[in-house]
Symmetry: C2
Subunit: 885 residues, 2 copies
């Protein structure tokens, strides 16, 4: 006896179930499962994926035994339906569909209305009492079968339909009547014979064998192979074939077809919600030609059409029973397709319904309340990245939009405003009450105030971790970066996209979640955080093991992040503070001083300012740890670039423009990323770090005196060797201890380091001798591990991702094989020396779900991310912890 | 009974030997060893390092039992010498010296002439018949003891000597007579009493205990502790103390003192060679006040003074016997110090003599011939780095020199020439018959022809692996790099050092082995390679396991390297070829083309040129493998920088200067080192690599047809992910196989990759799926592992090394902990996938002995280095292999 290739389903009988996905494919398993729980599904049978493999092993012929098993299953289907395949009076028709283990939408072939021929079409006329419907079904079947099974180009049969309409002088298919269609059937068959040399098969079983073989063959079309390669689906899986009774919602007024959601997919409310049409096919409901009717009174909305509840109360009640059964069984909101044929309800499909993130949260919370799922499952039900939409304004989906260009979705949210090209102008316009979009080729730290003033930022260069992107995410402000179609012309205060010119003051709209740039102003929708959100997040917090901190440089950002649930600051960058207008002059004086005294003089001016900064941040983070990174970027970043600014500064400093330029030039670096920055500055000019450390600890002491609980963590950046840390730690401890003693209070502080160079990770055991904590700076670690400058990668990284050379942008999602390997080495070696070493991550990856999962798996203590990504990180951490169990 | 703390030596009795270095210190063990082989050494005893530790354990007091053991040893010494310590007629005097396990020169204390007091000085007068000598010894002893043991500042006693001379109205110490010195002794003692409140100790044993304690105490002076920390010497080792009979070469004309080498330290010839002085102290021989006499007739040279051989033939013969014994015993050329006291020969010290590299090779080869050492030992006797001096001209050591500035010793050798400031000018001047030194702030690939034309290169910026340094080493041309004291002013064609101005045409001299820059022309000595060198290197080759290849870009360099023993090319950089005047225009056309067609058009011009290059190199390397790296640097490096050049190119290309500048600007990168270069170019513009691969293989096919044996290895640079290699390898194989088929010949070729990014090393297992060989590019790997640009590191790396934050420049000697760890990971993982993977290194480290040793240990197949370092690498590889056994 041959292997079992065919699994029947129908009525209350099924041989398969949801667990048999590998054998029956996703669709087949699901159909079986629905039957199993008593949902009325048109009966039929599934031919297994093993039959597909056997088909290929058998030189692309149906394997021995298969035909007998199909005939047997057909008999069972006929018995269930009380009708016969190929019957001339009331024939059963079938759909023949592919169904692989995982969905490969549109990749493989389908045949509908199988079983029609010149005889059975008469039966269909008789059964439906609708000759037009019968002939229309017949001509569709011939076209589809001719194309899919017999290999005729679709166009070559479609022309006959066009010809028929032309002959009759009409435009719409629906204007052809039964006779026209009958004639069309004749000419289609003749054309098939002409094109293939074969008659169109009249025997329903011949039709069936052809269709099954065609579906098997479609597993190995070029597009299917490509799709599998791109999606990592093995070629040897094969596809199943589902042969299922056709049911018709368009046989008359006791027929209907519709779609429904078991809850509102947009709000999540527990309302059965759907639309249907009397005497129609499935595609009519979504096609928008006829206006669909509400399924019930509660979901009527503005519609004045009669509902199914009113028109067919018994059927509606049956549908309600079915949906409740399905939702209970699948324990999730379902998206249903149903057809009513001659007042008989059939379910064609059920699947977990797509929903907005707001709905996802409400449904998850409600279902826990209903006892359908537990909290763990609820937490797993929301995609962390989607939370972004809850936290930022979004474009009104109903508004008309004119797309101008597309860049990188660098920071989510949406905003409209007048174009400005300089940071100063952005500030001025904002003060004058305008909303502006700052458009730059790229931004630099000098632009921060302008970025803050703008509603959104658009740059033509730079990637997902460019300055603009990082700062905008930190501010929770929308940003489209690296939009290379936008060519900025500062001199003429305009930008071009192709031939179109946009001037200062013209209005554009950005969607930072998609990277789209639109012409003109588009209304936005501001989200509201609900109680469900808080409940949901509190459940996430119950499961996660990772702490979530934030990257914040100002008391305002710190507060925002704390409100989003941040449990401390993982990265407070001190350099942004240096750019404030009141300070940049002193910063420049310090840099350009050519003696220790000169630097100390300038630093003395900066110290009270820095101290003020830290007091503000400590207050905002009362009771929570705050990691402060000492000065990191190369000094020349702080120097003026424009001629005017240089001249002005020279005047203020009392030196010549030439001297100033010379000094600036001497600070030039070929590769600033790999240059004199981070702790290398701290070692060359210890007085800078001394000032910062003193400011931190004095601020902490002041706070402690005011009853604020402070946990300062001083972080030394860009350490490559433990000796660097040793040198700086010793100085820092001396300063801290003296300040604490002087203040006469108790204060615990820690000194640790960024691990952001491969060498630091590789020698983490030595570094942990000195470091009291590690924070992985995965931005720089990615740059050095790949040898890839994020400022320059824009020229080739997009092509790399498009060509699948890199699976994704390593600056967005951590590269587990390379950068991740170093993180693991760093954690392992660091904890060899110091088993209780506190380890976190403060790169951009700290708020990206896949990276957060990696951090969980690697045993980090916390992730730190920009304020608006804190909820995302919390949820991702919870999901990682749950998946890990 | 207490532990044995004291080990005697003298006459033919010794308790110690050379193996007891840990216990007796280096000096003590060596003194014992000399006695053991019957060399006349002044007798005495060594107090062990364990006594030092016991001293510290005993609150810095001499441990119980020590004094008794000292008295016992003293008795034995007295018996050997037939004189007594503290004897009033003919007293024994002693030196008391420190002696740790390893030499810590000048770090600890010494006391000489111990045992003198008012009574014994009379005995010394009697014994020497020289009151002035006796009182001079006495006053020296008081000053030394007062300072070292009694803690009086040296200056406070020295003033009395000055006062005595002043009073007498003389200037030199030697002008004071016995009476003056006797008086001085009195006033010194009075001053000691005055300053310390204690009498100067008269009792010889009191003096001895004091001196021993002082030496023990000097183990823990601040400078000694610092020295140990810097040199990694453990604090717990302690020092031994050597108490040894004083002998005097200055007691009269039957006394003498001298130094000798058992072979000529400058040529290595087997001639006993030395100098001595009658009636003198050791320091007089080297002080240069009196002209030393030749020790024998054969080494007389130009001297007309009588030799020891003539004056004291019996003593000379004894000395010859001793030196032969010592050389045979120590199996190496010895550097002896001897004293003749009253016609009795004493050896004070023997040690392996310093020698020139030429002598080192001759001595090693001769000693193998003499059966003193075997080849293995001979190979270990020469420091690989020193070979440099054999291969390059050196400055005449006798010439007068005016040092101007000091930079980095970037490429060895010495050269003089007229200053020029541009590469073009260097070429012109060279053609006009001038010798020139090219002086630049830094060099770029555009300067290569000028560098080639110059005798030497001086740059004010850049490190040991800057462009200038790397290229100069490749050319075997001397280079001083990063000489920051030199401020170049191109506009005025001059450079300044402080206030001094040097103009074009002024002559300077460079010493690339020391980094020194001198004013004017200094004669140089051109080395000659001897037959001994060839013999010696052939022995090295017998032992080494590593192959040694060369980095060479031209047939000329390839030939030079092959003559130096290179076994193939490990790195042939194709980009240098692009800079030749005949090509740079086509290269620029290619870069600036904005279409595939445009690039292909330009590439078609370049291909025949590239093919010619490769044919030349394959010919030079007939039978040896040649690894060719495809284009690596970012394209903008090839573009013109100067306004004139840009205008010229724009003219040639028929585009506007603005357009050209815009394109150039668009190629600008923030961090070119981490930018669009290496295989990233090959992926963005596959036609470039296609052209290069075709040129390589077509050249190889042409050579094969001419009977030349070619082993081409195509190397893809800057791979971060296996997918990059996969993409490029597939294209390359197609091109190669087609070309080989077309040529109708047999040709094996390999395709491999540089491992020069941390990610490549970390994912080497995946990369080895595609790569047929690995070559570690440790220059770039060092840059990325440390996050350190070698072009910018000059600003802080020197300070790092000075402050011992880094033990050495990681661009010079491979950083074993970080970069080395990645190399090991890369090798291990690569060979997991492909066990026979050929692995080499082609960074600058390939010619640095410590790095070569690391490569040997890590199991690499070969190192590759610049031609002039090939012999160094061969020797270093041999030594690593021998050390490994």
């Amino acid at each position: 006896m041959s292997e079992k290739y065919v699994y029947s389903f129908g009525g209350d009988y099924t041989e398969g179930d949801a667990g048999m996905r590998d054998l029956l494919g996703g669709k087949g398993a699901n159909l079986a499962e629905m039957i199993k729980i008593g949902v009325p599904v048109p009966p039929g049978f599934t031919i297994t994926t093993t039959a597909c493999i056997a088909f290929y092993d058998n030189d692309r012929s149906l394997p021995p035994g298969l035909e007998d098993q199909v005939r047997e299953a057909m008999a069972r289907t006929e018995a269930t339906m009380g009708r016969k395949f190929g019957d001339r009076d009331n024939p059963l028709l079938f759909s023949v569909r592919s169904g692989a283990r995982v969905s490969m939408p549109g990749m493989m072939d389908t045949v509908l209305n199988l079983g029609l021929n010149d005889e059975t079409v008469q039966g269909l006329i008789k059964g439906s009492d609708n000759p037009r419907f019968a002939y229309d079904s017949y001509r569709r079947f011939i076209q589809m079968y001719g194309n899919v099974v017999m290999g005729i180009e679709g166009e070559k049969l479609e022309v006959l339909l066009e010809q028929a309409k032309k002959e009759k002088g009409v435009k719409l298919d629906t204007e052809l009547d039964a006779d026209d269609l009958k004639k069309l059937v004749g000419s289609l068959k003749a054309r098939v014979k002409e094109l293939t040399g074969n008659d169109f098969p009249e025997d329903p079983y011949d039709q069936l064998w052809g269709a099954i073989s065609a579906v098997f063959n479609s597993w190995n079309t070029k597009r299917a192979i490509t799709y599998r390669k791109l999606n990592g689906i093995p070629d040897h899986w094969g596809t199943a074939v589902n042969v299922q009774t056709m049911v018709f919602g368009n046989m008359g007024d006791d027929c209907a077809t519709g779609v429904a959601f078991t809850r509102d997919p947009s709000t999540g409310e527990k309302i059965f919600y759907g639309e249907f049409l009397i005497n129609a096919q499935g595609e009519d409901v979504v096609a928008g030609i006829r206006t669909p009717q509400p399924i019930n009174e509660i979901g009527r909305g503005d519609s004045d059409l009669p509902s199914l509840e009113t028109l067919m109360p018994d059927i509606y009640n049956e549908l309600v029973e079915v949906y409740q059964k399905l939702e209970k069984h699948y324990r999730d909101m379902q998206d249903l397709e149903f057809t009513i044929e001659r007042h008989k309800l059939w379910l064609l499909q059920t699947r977990n319904g797509k929903r907005t993130v707001k709905a996802a949260i409400k449904i998850a919370v409600d279902m826990v309340g209903e006892g359908l799922i537990d909290k763990k499952e609820a937490v797993m039900r929301v995609e962390p990245d989607k939370l972004d939409n809850l936290l930022h304004p979004t474009l009104d989906p109903k508004a008309e939009k004119e797309l101008l260009a597309k860049g990188l979705p660098a920071s989510p949210g949406a905003a409209s405003g007048e174009i400005v090209f300089s940071a100063d102008e952005a500030e001025e316009m904002k003060e004058a009450g305008h909303k502006v979009i700052l458009v730059r080729a790229e931004t630099s730290p000098e632009d921060i105030n302008g970025m803050n003033a703008a509603e959104g930022i658009l740059t033509s260069r730079g990637g997902m971790t460019s300055h603009a992107a990082v700062v905008a995410r930190g501010m929770g402000k929308c940003c489209v970066a690296g939009c290379s179609a936008v060519v900025v012309d500062y001199d003429n205060e305009c930008f071009k996209v192709g031939d179109r010119v946009f001037k200062k003051g013209d209005v554009i709209t950005l969607d930072g979640s998609t990277g789209e740039v639109f012409v003109g102003r588009i209304p936005t929708i501001t989200p509201q955080l609900t109680g469900d959100f808080a409940t949901f997040m509190s459940w996430a917090d119950e499961f996660r093991k990772l702490n979530v901190r934030t990257n914040a440089d100002t008391p305002h950002d710190a507060k925002v992040a704390r409100d989003f649930g941040a449990e401390g600051i993982g990265l407070c960058r001190t350099e942004h503070m240096f750019f404030e207008e009141s300070r940049i002059r002193a910063v420049r004086e310090m840099i350009l001083a050519d003696s220790l005294e000169g630097r100390e003089h300038a630093l003395a001016k900066l110290k009270p300012e820095q101290k003020k900064d830290f007091i503000g941040i400590f207050k905002a983070m009362d009771g929570l740890p705050v990691t402060i990174r000492l000065l990191d970027p190369p000094l020349h970043e702080f120097l003026p670039q424009e001629e005017d600014d240089i001249a002005e500064l020279a005047g203020i400093m009392g030196v010549s423009v030439e001297a100033l330029k010379e000094r600036t030039e001497s600070l030039h670096e070929f590769n600033p990323m790999l240059g004199h920055r981070g702790c290398r500055l701290g070692i060359a000019y210890p007085e800078i770090y001394d000032m910062q450390v003193a400011a931190i600890i004095e601020a902490a002491c002041d706070c402690v005196k005011k009853g604020i609980s402070v946990l300062p963590e001083i972080m030394i950046p860009l350490v490559a060797d433990v000796n660097e840390l040793k040198f700086l730690k010793k100085r820092s401890i001396a300063i801290c201890d003296a300040a604490i003693k002087k203040a006469g209070i108790e204060l615990k502080y820690m000194i640790g380091t960024m691990i952001e160079l491969p060498r630091a990770a590789l020698t983490a055991d030595a570094i942990a001798e000195e470091a009291e904590f590690f924070s992985f700076g995965t931005n720089d670690l990615t740059q050095t591990t790949f040898g890839l400058s994020r400022d320059d990668a824009g020229k080739f990284l997009p092509a790399y991702i498009e060509q699948k050379i890199f699976p994704c942008d390593p600056f967005v999602s951590i590269d587990i094989d390379g950068v991740g390997a170093l993180v693991e080495i760093g954690v392992t070696r660091g904890r060899t020396t110091r088993p209780d070493l506190k380890v976190g991550i403060c790169g951009e990856h700290g708020g990206e779900p896949k990276s957060v999962a990696f951090c969980h798996k690697t045993g980090l203590n916390y992730v730190s991310c920009s304020p608006f990504r804190v909820p995302i990180a919390r949820l991702a951490a919870a999901q990682a912890a749950i998946s890990d169990i």
